[in-house]
Symmetry: D3
Subunit: 254 residues, 6 copies
């Protein structure tokens, strides 16, 4: 069930069966010449819908904009400062705890979010540890799960793309979004014309200027011309199966 499409009495009913919620979190940032700016938000959103279909999980709206400062050299990228993202997550979690939610499963589509989201968890836990948590707040359990690190996904990515999946604008994530948005994918795929080199360079980066200098078309280590909606479908199925099991285990654990 999508929270946005539920009524409050339906949420109240859900809370009698589960106090866990599934929150897709991503980013709005360039994904190379053929990837959607919304790739990192769309991937967990698509997968969350799949998980919900299998498990009945309640799915929160997607945190569409995350920590993407290093992509600001490319048009369309939006970032939250880490401290803003921490405040946002604090507010989401502290709001939901008022209703009885106490397990937060963040399904993440963006490597750049990981550190800040975990810092946000610590900020929220610290409220309890320092004795400053909102009154009556239950003990909370927060989990961050990167869909691209699910074992079945990694196996399949390797099988489908070999060493050309890459680190950013990966063939896998581009495939998954093409599967979710085939028409837009067909249009975006035309951006491949003139893309060079075939596999993008890899390496470290710091700020937006540095990133753009090192990765002139935005990709890192990937050849997204290998992407296709059909491969996206396969990745979707592999991911949803494992993530559904992980969700159940998280939501039901003692």
């Amino acid at each position: 069930m999508k929270l946005q499409l539920a009524t409050w009495p339906e949420v109240e009913a859900y809370l009698k069966t589960s106090t866990a919620i599934l929150i897709p979190i991503g980013s709005t940032e360039q994904h190379g010449p053929t990837g959607f700016v919304g790739t990192d938000a769309l991937c967990p959103e698509i997968l969350a819908e799949g998980v919900a279909a299998q498990t009945g999980a309640l799915v929160a709206p997607t945190v569409s904009v995350g920590m993407a400062q290093h992509h600001l050299g490319f048009p369309g990228s939006i970032t939250l400062r880490p401290t803003t993202l921490i405040a946002l997550l604090q507010d989401w979690i502290n709001s939901l705890t008022r209703h009885g939610f106490d397990r937060f499963f963040f399904l993440n589509g963006h490597g750049g979010n990981i550190a800040t989201v975990q810092a946000a968890f610590s900020e929220v836990y610290a409220e309890a540890s320092l004795g400053a948590a909102p009154s009556n707040r239950p003990a909370l359990r927060c989990k961050l799960r990167n869909w691209f690190e699910v074992p079945g996904v990694q196996r399949l990515s390797k099988e489908l793309f070999g060493g050309a999946d890459g680190q950013h604008a990966t063939a896998s994530e581009v495939s998954l979004t093409y599967y979710g948005y085939p028409e837009a994918g067909a249009r975006a795929a035309r951006g491949a014309a003139g893309m060079s080199p075939k596999v993008a360079p890899s390496g470290p980066f710091t700020d937006a200027a540095d990133y753009r200098r090192s990765f002139p078309d935005g990709r890192m280590g990937s050849d997204p011309t290998l992407a296709s909606a059909e491969k996206g479908r396969q990745l979707f199925e592999a991911a949803v199966q494992e993530l559904s099991a992980e969700w159940r285990s998280f939501a039901e654990a003692g």
Copy 2:
């Protein structure tokens, strides 16, 4: 064009034709026994898609969670503190200015956002006025437009619902979301059973406990049983027509 489904070179191309962006902003909060928790976010999202279809506007991801502290007494509601929402909007705007965007049209679905969004605009303008704006930032123009205040919408709402449109969980907004999500709407509409009184009470409120006390099923002044997908379609068309003209005027003004 949806920013999330665009590639960065497509955004770069768009910027050669326009430096304006359309940002739907709403809330995730109870909307009575038959309204979606996401009503206030879905309405501007649906309308923005309509406006984009007519005008070619670039549509940012929706700010789905806004200022909804007074609804926290009902399950599923999420709020940002005003100061968090201000920080978020600062980051969005300051990110987009790096690419050359300088006109921000926020299409708003939630009355509770108005004050904070305008305060956020002032916070952003103050950066320039105090000499602290990011270097090279262009002069910005920010606009907040509440879709439910568009004259054609107000005329039609009155015609369709008379005095029973209300202030929260209005027949209009519920209709618009049912139009956008007919299947979920049919399901949600079943929540009308036992809804009483027919037209909800109105009046002032302060915090969440006070709101719930005064408005026990969440509605304010409305009879959302009057809502229908078909009426939503009519509202959609009325709104999109006028908003498209407003967008053009905003995006093109000298």
Copy 3:
């Protein structure tokens, strides 16, 4: 009774009769060639004294500096960033609640404060709604009232100034301050020499540079040469009468 001129045992005695407090809030910003920089703070301060004389209301010190970023292009203007003003109001309110005050009537003299003050109310209410309010804090009721929107004031302004009252450095507010400070008013009125056009232009604005460009002498839509201390007296009487009734209703409501 002015809080500043009361002793704490007198405040303690007042609290046995009322838990409401009247807080004038304004701004320190240019008001055209003939208006005081303090106009927006002085107006509610003058009126609050009048209301207190009629009702016995306790009057807090004036919040003299508000949100005036758009006036920073003119010497003497001071602004708080919206987030600073929110923090300030939080502290004032949370301090006063320690003594038992739970009704806060902000008498406002500045349109530019409205959004931020209402955002501040939400920030304060959100503390309760999120379970983070100071312990023992009573349920609060905050009200923002713009003196220039009191019906009797608007009627009289129209009668006195027709369409030339304007939006900033209005004939009404300049009159009210000349009534309060006749000597300084006589001096300031000399600034009218060479003021042109007679009625200032109107329109939208963004930051300080934009404001100064559009409104070169600071006025918006007004002809403050129509102002006089005598007209100020009439406005004072009209405003105090209605505001006193509003105060009583607010302070005594169940």
Copy 4:
């Protein structure tokens, strides 16, 4: 000249002669059974008017609420958290620098403000030292001057009150406010009935509960029954004379 009663062209003219501004800063907090809650704000306000009369100094509105957390055990006291006061002072100073002001003479009436105001100065200087100051900001000079530490005031206080001037709700400050507000002073002085012991105890304190426990009627080390408007007049004259010289020296120094 009072900034609040000046027009912006008058401020512009002033800036051609001086870039210094005099800012009274105080507190709104209990001052014992016979002292005004506004004592610490009124004293520097009264004195600033005297200094301006002698020197032509431009006087900003008074910062009426300061750091008074330890007085919150007594009705009517209001505090800003130190971090809020720092933000407020940053905004005032950064606003005024936009117009060319670069010397800020804070005339202080409250011991509890000293640390925070000096921390605020460091916060503002740090903007420059860290390279983060608003662009074009001139080099600033900020000065905090406690009126009660002016040598002539201290000599006179000792002469008038001997060892009974005290540390809080002092006979000196109460006298000065009675001089400024003789009618209210006459009323407040009646609070002396039953005040005991004659000279209040002294000693350290921490938070509001601790303060109230140690100083049950709010006074520290003082016997404010010695206060009178006439003594206030003498203190006024002594203070204004020396402060005027200090202002001139500060405003004109190379």
Copy 5:
């Protein structure tokens, strides 16, 4: 060279040869019945001294208190909230950039710091990416290196402790601090009496209450009775050798 024991002309001279600085960062938190509360700060401090001896690196003072909210259930533990630690690191880095430092090698002793330190790096980079960095700030390179993940250390730990090194209060880190502080180590080692089970449990945790419940004596997965100063010496040598090479590579890279 230790920054604390250098004079500023010596730092100035150093900057002519290198713009890199080595910053030990740790935590002040319980480390089981036999480990020092300062273990995580002392380890990188000890190693940094070793690296400096080999390479001439300039070593900043140690960030002794980090993100340790989960250890607050045990006496002596101190945490910074993640947002505080981010602000602290921003200030350190922005201070040092004023002198020309542009490479920051954080040698970390505490797993709980990783997310927050990386978020802090992003916050600092974001200043540049958003155009808000202090003027003249050079392009920065920040690196976080966990000493316990150096390959040579991991090999040796496995060799020395097999599977009983653990995740918290590890035999390795306890050994290293015993090597650095043999006398205190001998005293602390007496805490082993009654420690049970021999190897502590492992698993996830959230806040301080949860941590203490799961790990009643503070250890996670470790048997620190295996620790000794001699093993610490071996670990020291292995770590310093590799870290020195890493430092050189970082400090000299083009």
Copy 6:
């Protein structure tokens, strides 16, 4: 006992005998041509060790970086913004209160910290006064003690250095650090070559540029060539004796 070298059961045992903790706080900033950058942190650290040896006080890790914005014109200086230092001290204190500590004796080595540390105390006390303190937090007592203002130290400084002790990079503090670090002191003392004038100038300062302009080699009013390890030893003994008595009195007071 140093907290860093204690185990948590040892801290637990300490808490049964005392709830006071001794926290050295200093700065990392230039101290002239012959003084260590760490002087202000090292002095209280050295003295705290002496006090602990005499009294058994528990000594926290040193706050090594304080408020030093005015020294940023000299290589090696690091500052926290005052607001950052306030947040840091809040976190330290609120962490330690969880274990039962309620008396905080900050032994300070840096004049520039005084205002901000006292503001931080107020911020912490204000949490209690405003009703927002962490639940169960005991009543706290915070004390700031500048070692250089201990009467015995001041007497001895005068005796040893006459009027040439100065205000910054004083002969006293340099001596104390040379006593603590004789080898490094011998090296640093070589910086005296060419130091001129013999006694540095004195006077006010604002930001870093202003400070460097007025005090070109960093010293203020001092002749640190008079410093020696032997004089440092005398100062150490004088200071430790009195500080030990002060500690006992603070830790044991009812």
